[in-house]
């Protein structure tokens, strides 16, 4: 249903003559429409072109948008020809009429004039989601990206060029709130009272569930999935979907964004008691770069469902799912697939002692050292190679450490955290030991950083 009505009222505007008495003259239809949909906030930039028939002299053009979610303060009209002879003098929001704007235009030409009208609306949204299919050896993953565009704007946009923006845009007011205002710019003197929503349009929040999915339209492109062109603009990425789309109000549409056959992945397992609890958490790790057949553009955040191929007949087993954040080009991706039982990390306190006691003038204890000896056993019960990262936090910056055994790579992460990185062969285990001395009370003064 078309709810945006656009009428051109041609009239001689005499001083003091109210516009309301003017008759409609023409109702030009939309020639083209372009949607630029944002996903960080509920907002879409709409650009339409229409051919207006203007008369030489004063023209009044009425634009109404009842039951849509347009922000009236964002309306702008620009002539695309004869720009120097067409003066768009003002945009009037008449009293006691809602969802209606009136452009007063002084034209030096008469005849058809192409104009471009832009505005922001809410109710259209898009999201990214992904499907990953691991090979049986879990060395590579077929990664398919999709975008789902949903229209709950109250307006049917037919044959719209559809563009999607990936990025974090700064917004002061929600477009939906601006659209519901009784007066476009509010009113002075009193605080704006939230208005009831229009009866017809019932936009859901942008993270709404899909209602329905439409098959790709039966046009010339129907025999192959549409391409999505990607380019960087300012701090954002612009996805342009090939051709045009028709997404009626209330409908969603899913389109394939990319399909990469074999992305090399690392099976990474992490253990950090303070963060993940006693279990080992599985991560799928790869990099958004050319080596991993990616790296053309950043990957917008979304949910990834991971499957694993089983057997020769293309059967699948569901591995898990992970939502991930926006990944810049060349950035590492770590997808949390949840706690697993087939990799085990067991730190055991093998010895504990205290020493180097200090006493104050009253004879109370004022300083001491604590020495913890931990034995850490790491077991890989799987048939594949895995990488295991173990982080240990000491809760104080005054510590010394001594490692022994198969501790792999050792790294100081920050002042009270260290990390061990181990590579384990299929069905193998490794054990290492560390002795950490922590300094307490006045003993902290005797501590010297090992790095200097």
């Amino acid at each position: 249903m078309k709810r945006i009505a656009f009428s051109s009222l041609i009239t001689v505007l005499m001083a003091g003559v109210g516009w309301a008495k003017v008759d409609l003259v023409t109702l030009p239809s939309r020639d083209t429409v372009q949607l630029t949909i944002y996903n960080s906030t509920d907002m879409t930039l709409v650009r339409e072109s229409r051919a207006l028939t203007l008369k030489d002299g004063a023209n009044a053009l009425q634009f109404s948008w009842a039951n849509t979610l347009i922000d009236p303060t964002s309306l702008e009209m620009l002539p695309k020809a004869n720009a120097d002879t067409i003066d768009i003098a003002e945009l009037v929001y008449p009293p006691r009429v809602r969802n209606l704007g009136l452009w007063n235009i002084e034209s030096g030409v008469s005849g058809k004039v192409p104009v471009e009208i832009t505005y922001l609306t809410s109710g259209l949204s898009w999201r990214a989601f992904y499907m990953g299919t691991l090979t049986e050896d879990e060395k590579t993953m077929r990664l398919r990206g999709y975008v789902v565009v949903t229209n709950n704007s109250g307006e049917d946009y037919e044959n719209a060029q559809t563009r999607l923006i990936v990025g974090q845009v700064h917004i002061l007011d929600q477009i939906a709130e601006l659209a519901r205002r009784q007066y476009p710019y509010g009113r002075p003197g009193v605080a704006p009272v939230p208005q009831r929503m229009p009866a017809v349009a019932a936009p859901a929040p942008p993270q709404m569930e899909m209602v329905k999915e439409l098959a790709v339209g039966f046009d010339a492109l129907a025999l192959r999935p549409k391409e999505i062109a990607k380019e960087g603009l300012s701090e954002y990425f612009l996805y342009t979907i090939e051709g045009t789309e028709t997404i009626p109000n209330g409908w969603s549409k899913r389109l394939q964004s990319f399909d990469i056959e074999a992305v090399p992945v690392v099976n990474l397992y992490k253990y950090e008691q303070e963060r993940y609890g006693p279990g080992v958490v599985r991560f799928l790790s790869f990099k958004n770069d050319q080596e991993h057949k990616l790296g053309q553009t950043p990957i917008p955040g979304g949910m990834l469902k991971v499957y694993r191929g089983v057997g020769q007949e293309g059967h699948l087993s569901y591995t898990g799912q992970s939502s991930f954040k926006y990944i810049p080009v060349d950035e590492d991706v770590e997808l949390n697939l949840g706690t697993v039982a087939d990799i085990v990390v067991e730190p055991k306190l093998m010895d504990f002692k205290t020493e180097n006691y200090r006493f104050d003038t009253r004879g109370s204890i004022s300083g001491w050292d604590e020495i913890h000896t931990f034995e850490v056993e790491v077991k890989n019960t799987r048939d594949i190679n895995v990488k295991v990262e173990i982080q240990r936090n000491f809760g104080t910056q005054y510590w010394d450490i001594r490692n022994s055994g198969d501790f792999g790579q050792f790294e100081k992460v920050d002042l009270d955290t260290v990390k061990y990185t181990l590579d384990l062969q299929p069905r193998s285990s490794q054990t290492f030991e560390y002795v950490v001395r922590t300094y307490h009370g006045v003993r902290q003064q005797d501590w010297r950083p090992a790095s200097r």
Binding site: R163, L172, Y185, G189, S234, Y236, Y398, D414
Partner: protein, 396 residues
């Protein structure tokens, strides 16, 4: 076209017959409102000036001025005779009880059809300023437009008035009650902009790896200078909402973001926060924080004063395919001295350090990486009277 006008300001000339002072008799035809000025130069209040012709008789005249349904500051009402200021004198003003009205006692030297100017502060009529800027694809300049939005919710219809701002030409405009009008009043193409990325260690999280699945956006702003070189600098730019767009190179634009600016005097900078960059990643960590140089102990051998040994590293990665200049703000409270710092900084105040970090574009080898290392000592730290630590706060 007074059919629509709900004029609620009533001006009556009361012929003073003898010394009748009670029971205010309202007589005489309503004088037509003449030239009207809506003066919007003060953002706090709108001044209305209107001219009316009063038929005055020689001697004492009582003129009744009342209003209904509009908010007029009664103390702001002024009357000025324009034709015979020497002969027409306002003697006193009376306020009748429980009425939005006043009565002027005017002495006239003769019978005059006197044009008077009545001025008053009227509520609920004002103006807003909004900005719309379209940047070029390279983000080096913007085409800046500013709109004046007149909002009239005063209860009064103005058929035609001269509207005055604090700058620019006055213009004729009519505006009805509950009407809003948006007019283009400034068009300045090719205004140079500087793009600014800013990481403030007191505002943004330090270690993005500790955030589950969240990007830390580095705030990005456009900086515009209100001066001649920018094609501006004629007058202060009023505060208002600014929406920024960018030419996308396909004869279309994308919306970059919006911000609200405060008043920008001539010569000053306007900074508009458009959005967050997720392609510049800062990972800041504290690597050392220890007490050294115990300066004093009390009788209980408790430390009462010491110095610190602190080390902070901040890794900055640019994943963008273009270069950028990151402004990094670090905070060290209290008395301190820098032992070693591998980058140049400007001390903005006692505890604020500002680094300008040039980040080249990402290359095929990966992101451009720079690492800041600050090794410093805070001096004469006293337990209990410690100045606040530069702890990461919640992001804006």
């Amino acid at each position: 076209m007074n059919t629509k006008t709900k004029t609620t300001i009533v001006l009556l000339v009361i012929l003073s017959i003898g010394s009748v002072a009670f029971g205010r008799i309202k007589l005489v035809a309503l004088p037509e409102r003449g030239a009207t000025v809506i003066r919007l130069d003060n953002p706090q209040a709108t001044l209305i000036e209107e001219e009316r012709v009063l038929t005055l008789q020689k001697g004492l005249n009582k003129v009744d001025f009342s209003w209904k349904g509009v908010f007029i500051d009664a103390d702001s009402i002024r009357l000025q005779a324009l034709d015979h200021p020497d002969q027409v004198t306002l003697l006193s003003v009376s306020y009748p009880p429980n009425e939005a009205a006043l009565v002027w006692d005017i002495s006239s030297g003769s019978d005059y059809a006197e044009t008077v100017r009545i001025s008053y502060l009227l509520s609920n009529i004002d103006r807003l300023i909004t900005y719309k800027a379209v940047a070029d694809k390279a983000e080096t300049f913007v085409d800046l437009k500013s709109y004046l939005v007149l909002r009239n919710f005063s209860g009064e219809d103005f058929d035609r008035a001269r509207v005055l701002l604090d700058y620019g030409e006055a213009f004729e405009q009519g505006i009805d009650h509950e009407e809003t009008k948006q007019m283009l009043f400034l068009k300045s193409p090719g205004v140079p902009v500087t793009k600014v990325w800013k990481f403030d260690a007191a505002v943004l999280p330090w270690d993005p790896e500790k955030l589950e699945n969240q990007n830390v956006g580095i705030p990005v702003s456009y900086r515009i200078v209100n001066d001649d070189a920018a094609g501006l600098g004629q007058f202060a730019l009023w505060g208002g909402k600014a929406r920024l767009f960018q030419d996308d190179g396909h004869e279309s634009t994308i919306f970059l973001g919006e911000d609200v600016t405060t008043l920008v005097p001539v010569g000053e900078k306007m900074e508009l926060y458009i959005g967050d960059s997720r392609d510049i990643v800062v990972t800041q960590r504290k690597m050392t924080d220890a007490q050294i140089n115990i300066l004093r102990r009390n009788d209980n051998r408790q430390i009462v004063m010491y110095d610190t040994d602190e080390e902070i590293t901040a890794k900055i990665e640019n994943f963008k395919d273009s270069s950028a200049v990151l402004t990094m703000i670090q905070h060290i409270p209290g008395q301190w001295d820098m032992e070693e710092c591998n980058m140049k900084y400007e001390k903005k105040d006692a505890s604020t350090l500002e680094f300008e970090i040039q980040l080249p574009a990402r290359t095929e080898a990966g992101p451009a990486v720079k690492e800041l290392t600050m090794h410093y000592h805070r001096r004469h730290v006293r337990p209990g009277v410690q100045p606040p630590m530069p702890t990461p706060l919640r992001r804006r």
